[in-house]
């Protein structure tokens, strides 16, 4: 094997020899440099392979045969091999990426470049603290060289500031090292560790200064102004090196010296880390410049890993796993993002929409953003998971909250950016992209995916994730260029196959899960059928849809909380992509993802707390014995963000209303049930005894009732048909929350009736209205009218939908009402129950408005020739209607097994006698009601036909109208502000107080960021002062 010293030798030799080629064709020195770095990469890779294959022990190298302290000693162990491989790898790719720059700037840049990587290699391998200082200086100077070579005014000034700051930090480091040597008499790190300088008088100050210098090299907030200026002004390729390579090396240094720092100082490192993580993410929120934003993100990520190092005493065996997964994610993503920034050359994040011109870049951008944020299936997901679990096991809740808060802030700006890229108008076109520039980010993107997979494998059997659905998503992403019709068929086949694999087993073993899975898969297939109505390629739709369904399926299949959370995040991201596809959805997609993430972090906290007591099995949730209220509250609120309960609902109306016609039913009828399922397993785990006296459930009951009221009332005042349906979903989910919060047998059966009904009728309504919108080109109900004449089938569908929704017998909606009445009386929730029933009657207002304004009244002139809705919508709609009819006539087919399932948990309150449901207070026979009403209806219709068969059909305006004949549909159609009087009476209830509250909160955060930003005044002297002040203040805080 080639010895690690050759890395240094080759780099040094190349750097010197490059000088001979100053006048030659620049391709020659470039080739030499490239080969050198390739060889360095090869050496490090070879060592890494040997360590991974367990063929090698760590070795110590002493230069020139001397023993320390007289020699420079290097160490090559597994850790060093990993890190130098990372550094040389990125060096190789950077060399490729910067090819043009090298051609342009010439040999000097190549020399500086290779010296930089030599420095970083030694920094990692060295075990000599002074040697560390020397090579730190070399790489700093090399970095500054790279910056200054940019030759732009801004780069010059920032490079100079960097020089000042680094000079001061080096000075401090040197003083620290001198002091360590003075007290210890050695520079060899191993000896320093064994002699423990902290025990010596003055030794702790020496270590403190060394430590502070290294921490400052990691650019902690707020002492990092110069670094941010550099990130902003340097070439993005240099930014990638600075962030990924230098940052990684410095973290390794920090890791290397941790053995000889004092225990209490770990808290200090952790505190510096968290302040950096939260502070720079806060500042990122307002940032519009892409490279500076990446700078903030870099600083934040390094802060997070510093935090992990600081918290290492709590993390036990998982410390390195956590630290490394977070680091590798940062390494891959940040380099990738900087590289992409260099490819598209857009300063403003708003202009990153040009990414859409190159789908590959867009996908890579998405991968890197998700990697940074810790979304599955990337390594940081598992890292963050373990971090939270370990901190929970050690009861460090405050740290968890702080970390999640910082992550949330990070998500705010990253998703804002991502949203811009996905949705903003494309203003400019990109020039042709060179292969050498796109290869590095591509490789890193692939590495990120692969690393995620292996991270999970590494975790062991207990953590197994089912990657099959994700593989299907990957396949459909790869064939995204073919016609939508084919992809649609493939997607349906994939869903059907997934259903075939899972549904029979669930039917046998777990009826509740079966119901939800049937809704997810059946609903998915039906709504996908509507997709045939779309022409063209529908780029990006199928990966998103399948991602969401894969997540939904994963939630049902999950055995452990990790699997659940993994699927939950997949589902969240997939649905985000779907929602943001709508024309005006950039804002709504953003608020959706933020609420979802907020909810997900609460779930994560709850899973952590649970893990500390009973482990990761979901079924063990019922065994927890401390923090019950906290855990259940976190879970409930987390799931309620997805159910859009009052207070957490403001994302829903826009998200659902602006989505595409076949996406609205997916995210409304199907997706919302994920929250319901989560809530359901939570309440099941509580058990009857806890549930009976639970204040939490009592509060949830009231929230459910008020959600129903506000949702339904708001729906009644909408002018936009899809918004009306969206608010209606909020209301319906309010009923469902109320029903499950009752935690009684009757309440739960009622809840299931609502879940099934809401799925069916909301899919019918959203599909139908969506299809109508596709025909008439508007959402506004008052711009429609009289469409029954043109679209009778759509009308019938909406009619069935609203009858089911409103609970009028004989359709299945009534079953829900019946169970409600009985359940609320037996539970004793009379007043909240009365609110729910009141809300139920208000539903008539919007049901009527929906059907009257669109289908009845006056047909508009421009709609006289519209066609019936597309057959591809009619098929799923009428399939669902048949389902509703069967459920209405034979409710016991589904409700009886559900009833049997629930009875053991909450005590039996309901018996079935054939199709008659018998509760303590009353009874109901859905089947007979259907027959009686059916026969009666036919008889009356017959009577009318008999007496009035020859009724003459008249034209539109043939009505009694004060002796006049109206002729404009617009002035004869009553639709706009339909419930003016009602609004006068009760409209105050739906004033957007909650929206205002959230807006004020987010404004406050943004303004806080704005205030904090003032510390960066761009002045090098001020920054130098900050460094000194930071050390002094920290010193006084620590000692």
């Amino acid at each position: 094997m080639v010895g690690p010293l050759y890395i240094i030798a080759i780099a040094l030799g190349t750097a010197f020899s490059l000088g001979f080629f100053k006048k030659a064709n620049r391709n020659i020195p470039y080739a030499i440099m490239f080969l050198a770095i390739a060889f360095m990469t090869f050496i490090s890779g070879q060592w890494l392979y040997a360590f991974l294959a367990n063929q090698q022990e760590a070795i110590q190298i002493f230069t020139a045969g001397f023993q320390p302290p007289f020699s420079i000693s290097l160490q090559m162990g597994l850790h060093e091999a990993v890190f130098v491989s990372m550094i040389n790898g990125i060096g190789l790719l950077s060399a490729l990426y910067l090819y043009e720059q090298f051609r342009d700037k010439g040999v000097q840049m190549m020399m500086v470049f290779i010296l930089l990587f030599m420095g970083l290699n030694v920094i990692i391998m060295t075990r000599d603290i002074f040697n560390l200082f020397v090579f730190l200086e070399i790489s700093t100077i090399a970095i500054i060289g790279l910056i200054l070579l940019e030759k732009k005014e801004q780069a010059m000034s920032s490079g100079f500031k960097y020089l000042i700051a680094s000079g001061i930090i080096s000075g401090i480091l040197l003083i620290g090292i001198i002091a360590i040597y003075y007290y210890n008499g050695t520079l060899f790190i191993n000896d320093i560790i064994s002699s423990n300088p902290l025990l010596l008088k003055g030794g702790s100050v020496a270590v403190f200064l060394t430590l502070m210098a290294i921490v400052l090299e990691l650019k902690p907030f707020p002492v990092n102004g110069w670094a941010l200026d550099v990130y902003e002004s340097a070439h993005p390729g240099v930014g990638a090196i600075l962030s990924a390579a230098t940052g990684t090396a410095m973290l390794f240094v920090l890791y290397k010296i941790t053995p000889f720092i004092a225990d209490p100082w770990f808290n200090m490192i952790a505190t510096i880390g968290i302040i950096t993580f939260i502070g720079s993410n806060l500042l990122g929120i307002q940032q519009e410049n892409a490279q500076r934003l990446l700078g903030y993100s870099s600083v934040g990520q390094l802060g997070l890993i510093m935090l992990v190092i600081g918290l290492s005493p709590y993390l036990g065996d998982n410390y390195l796993f956590i630290g490394f997964t977070l680091l590798i994610s940062h390494f891959l993503a940040k380099a990738g993002l900087f590289w992409i920034a260099g490819i598209i050359k857009q300063k403003k994040i708003k202009n990153w929409s040009v990414l859409r011109k190159t789908p590959l870049l867009m996908v890579l951008f998405g991968i890197f953003i998700l990697t940074l944020l810790g979304f599955p299936p990337f390594p940081s997901f598992f890292g963050k998971w373990e971090l939270v679990m370990e901190l929970s096991n050690n009861h460090q809740l405050a740290w968890i909250i702080a970390i999640l808060a910082g992550s949330f802030l990070e998500a705010v700006y990253l998703f804002r950016w991502f949203g811009y890229a996905l949705k903003k108008e494309i203003k400019e076109t990109t020039s042709k992209i060179q292969f050498s520039k796109i290869l590095p980010p591509f490789l890193f993107g692939i590495t990120s995916l692969v690393a995620g997979y292996y991270t999970n494998i590494f975790q062991g059997d207990a953590y197994t994730i089912n990657y099959l659905p994700l593989a299907l998503v990957l396949i459909i992403t790869l064939i995204d260029f073919i016609s939508a019709k084919i992809k649609n068929s493939l997607a349906i086949l994939a869903m059907a196959y997934y259903g075939f694999l899972t549904l029979p087993g669930l039917y046998e073993n777990d009826f509740i899960r079966f119901i939800f899975m049937a809704i997810f898969i059946g609903g998915g297939i039906l709504t996908l059928i509507a997709g045939y109505a779309y022409q063209g390629k529908r780029k990006g739709f199928y990966p998103a849809a399948l991602l969401m369904f894969a997540g939904l399926g994963g939630i049902i299949e999950a055995q452990t909380t990790l699997q659940f959370f993994f699927a939950w995040e997949i589902m969240t991201f997939g649905s985000y992509l779907l929602i943001i596809r709508g024309k005006h959805s950039i804002k709504h997609g953003f608020s959706y993802i933020l609420f979802s993430l907020g909810g997900a972090y609460l779930l994560l906290m709850a899973f952590g707390l649970m893990n500390a007591q009973v482990g990761m099995q979901i079924s063990a949730l019922s065994d927890i014995n401390t923090h019950l209220n906290l855990i259940f509250s976190l879970l409930a609120i987390g799931f309620m963000t997805k159910m859009a309960s009052l207070g957490l609902h403001i994302w829903l109306p826009g998200a659902h209303a602006e989505a595409e016609s076949d996406v609205s039913p997916m995210v409304s009828a199907i997706l919302l049930k994920a929250g319901v399922f989560g809530l359901l397993i939570t309440i099941l785990a509580m058990g009857a005894e806890y549930a009976q006296h639970s204040t939490l459930l009592y509060i949830l009951g009231w929230i459910g009732a008020l959600t129903a009221l506000v949702g339904n009332l708001a729906a009644s005042f909408q002018e936009d048909a899809k918004r009306l349906l969206a608010y209606s979903s909020i209301g319906q989910l309010g009923y469902i929350l109320f029903a499950y919060a009752m935690a009684t047998h009757l309440g739960w059966v009622g809840g299931f009736v609502y879940v099934i009904n809401h799925f069916a009728f909301k899919a019918v309504l959203f599909l139908t209205i969506g299809a109508v919108v596709l025909r008439v080109g508007t959402h506004k109900m008052y711009e429609m009218g009289g469409l029954i004449k043109r679209m009778p089938l759509a009308f019938i569908a909406v009619l069935i939908g609203i009858i089911t929704l409103s609970g009028v017998p004989p359709l299945s909606g009534f079953a829900g009402k019946w169970f409600f009445y009985h359940a609320l009386i037996s539970k004793g929730w009379y007043f909240q129950g009365a609110v729910v029933l009141f809300a139920g009657i208000i539903a008539f207002l919007y049901c009527f408005r929906l059907i009257q304004s669109i289908f009845l009244g006056q047909l508009k002139d421009n709609h006289r020739k519209v066609k019936e809705i597309s057959i591809w919508f009619i098929i799923p709609i009428y399939t669902l209607i048949i389902g509703i009819m069967i459920f209405s006539a034979r409710p016991h087919w589904i409700l009886q097994p559900i009833s049997e399932y629930i009875a053991p948990y909450f005590g039996r309150e309901l018996t079935w006698n054939g199709s008659t449901a018998i509760a303590e207070m009353g009874y109901w026979n859905g089947e007979w009601i259907m027959y009686i009403i059916g026969v009666m209806f036919v008889l009356i219709l017959g009577w009318l036909l008999y007496t009035n068969a020859k009724a003459q059909k008249v034209k539109q305006f043939n009505i009694v109208y004060s002796g006049e004949r109206p002729f404009t549909p617009e002035t004869t159609h009553i639709a706009h502000n339909m419930y003016a009087g009602y609004s006068k009476a009760l409209g105050f209830i739906v004033e957007p107080y909650i929206t205002k509250l959230w807006n004020n909160m987010s404004d406050a955060i943004v303004q806080l960021g704005g205030l904090t930003k003032r510390i960066y005044n761009g002045n090098g002297q001020t920054y130098a002062f900050y460094i000194i002040a930071y050390i002094v203040i920290t010193f006084f805080l620590v000692f």
């Binding site: 009534f814 009379y830 009365a834 009141f838 207070m921 009601i929 009666m936």
Partner: protein
């Protein structure tokens, strides 16, 4: 099989009685209202004449399918309540199909006719219909609130939602009626009834003067005949529902007629001495005193 035919025949007999009583009662009420206004009023047989005329009208127009089906839904609603309501306590024959569902079924079946009628009238395309319907629906939402609380209260009192059992519990004399045993629930429900029957002050929905005759503006001939039939039927069965819940039910037809008359008369009585509310006034009215009474009625039984 025989059983079902016998059952149907008895039901038809019940329907015949109720329908004719409804027509007569309607005529009587109109007569009373006229006399209060110092008019002579219609002859008591006028409703029958109207029906015969309407059903035999030869000229008839339709505005569309839903317009045509509206009255069918409407009469279906009235008839359905009739079918699911036990009329005479203790009578096997006049308990109709009440075994198919309890009080909740009746409460929700009210919407069947309303919804169908609303859609049918809207299909007529007349703006006044829609105005009337939106007012009607709006008012109805709050009318139901005190009624719901009253129902919860009596459900707690009798521990059942089965109408037959509620009537059974009130047998044995005046002192056992809900009116006496639970006056608050009765009061809340009787105030709601004013909104249900839509006499003044809650008759803006029909607005007899400004909007010719409310939602049925466009209906005529057999359509209107069906609506009138339903009107007669519905008044009796709604009154019978209140009778069953609060006034001890009826053990024979005479008692049935007297009690339903009085229940209906209550709304007419309030109507003739009241002015008319604007819609926002009537909507909020039910959320004030009637709601408070309803809440008290429930609190007493917690």
């Amino acid at each position: 099989m025989n059983d079902i035919i016998v059952k149907l025949l008895w039901t038809l007999l019940g329907l015949f009685i109720v329908l004719n009583w409804g027509l007569l009662m309607g005529a009587t009420m109109r007569k009373i209202v006229a006399r209060v206004a110092h008019r002579y009023g219609i002859p008591f047989y006028q409703p029958w004449l109207d029906l015969i005329k309407l059903y035999s009208n030869r000229s008839s127009i339709s505005h569309g399918v839903m317009f045509y089906l509206g009255p069918v839904f409407r009469l279906g609603g009235g008839l359905g309540i009739f079918l699911f309501l036990p009329l005479i306590y203790g009578s096997e024959h006049f308990s109709n199909f009440s075994w198919a569902g309890d009080l909740i079924l009746i409460l929700y079946f009210q919407f069947f006719g309303m919804l169908g009628m609303a859609l049918g009238a809207s299909d007529g395309g007349h703006p006044n219909s829609v105005i009337g319907i939106t007012r009607g629906l709006g008012q109805f939402t709050t009318v139901e609130v005190p009624l719901t609380l009253a129902v919860i209260s009596i459900a707690l009192q009798y521990n059942t939602l089965s109408i037959s059992e509620i009537v059974a519990a009130q047998q044995g004399g005046f002192q056992n009626w809900t009116l006496v045993t639970n006056p608050l629930a009765t009061a809340a429900a009787m105030l709601s009834l004013l909104g249900l029957f839509r006499e003044a002050p809650f008759n803006l929905v029909k607005a007899p003067n400004e909007v010719p005759i409310g939602p049925p503006t466009e209906y005529h001939s057999a359509f209107l005949g069906i609506l009138r039939t339903n009107g007669a039927l519905l008044h009796v069965v709604e009154a019978a529902l209140f009778m069953n819940l609060f006034f001890g039910g009826a053990t024979h037809w005479v008692e049935f007629i007297v009690k339903t008359f009085l229940v209906y008369f209550w709304s007419v009585f309030v109507g003739v001495v009241s002015p008319r509310f604007r819609i926002e006034q009537s909507v909020t009215w039910f959320l004030k005193i009637p709601l408070a009474i309803g809440i008290l009625a429930v609190i007493l039984y917690i």
